[in-house]
């Protein structure tokens, strides 16, 4: 499912709204979620899961082409942990 398919599904669920509202709502939700992570905030959606940043310590990597050592600085990366309901529904589906 893509973003535009998600928007279409939501527009169908809310026939009283104009199609543009579903489009705007999805973009607004995703922007708010991205902005929260960029601020370093967590996102907790009960029954769905949580998003947080994980720390990656600095390390010495290698340029795969030249084999030369390069130092890779520490960084923070987004991480998602599925919530109980999502985990169970996905697993029971097999």
């Amino acid at each position: 499912m893509t973003k535009s398919e998600l928007i279409a599904q939501l527009a169908e669920r809310f026939p009283q709204l104009v199609a543009k509202d579903a489009d705007f709502a999805v973009k607004m939700i995703l922007d708010a979620m991205s902005e929260a992570l960029v601020r370093g905030d967590r996102i907790e959606i009960r029954g769905f899961g949580s998003f947080a940043l994980n720390y990656r310590p600095p390390r010495v990597g290698r340029n795969p082409k030249s084999g030369e050592k390069v130092s890779v600085p520490a960084k923070w990366v987004p991480h998602f942990k599925a919530g109980k309901e999502l985990r169970e529904r996905v697993d029971q589906a097999i």
């Binding site: 893509t2 939501l10 979620m33 769905f48 998602f80 999502l86 697993d91």
Partner: protein, 100 residues
């Protein structure tokens, strides 16, 4: 600070002009549609944010850490999330090696 469904609903009320009921229902439906897709075995691609994918894990041997008894960990399907290149680089730039 933690972002929750309540804050997302407030945002839709204030900025999209949905009424309070619609805003709350829209946030709930947003996550429910994603859960539905994943439940039916369909991955979800949200460009600019990231992708939710499904992985089938085979059964593997496990152990009860208390008793040391061997018990198999059954085969299962799990959800993984891969942040988009944009989200990853926005996060990296915002912290630039400093504490979150």
């Amino acid at each position: 600070m933690t972002l929750t469904k309540a804050e997302l609903a407030d945002l839709l009320f204030e900025r999209v002009g949905l009424n309070k009921r619609e805003a709350k229902d829209m946030v709930e439906a947003f996550f429910e549609e994603i859960r539905n897709a994943l439940e039916t075995g369909d991955g979800v691609k949200l460009s600019g944010f990231g992708n939710f994918q499904l992985r089938d894990k085979p059964q593997r041997p496990g152990r009860n850490p208390k008793t040391g008894q061997e018990i198999p960990i059954t085969a299962r399907r799990v959800v993984t999330f891969h942040a988009s290149q944009k989200l990853k680089s926005d996060v990296e730039l915002a912290f630039d090696g400093t504490t979150a």
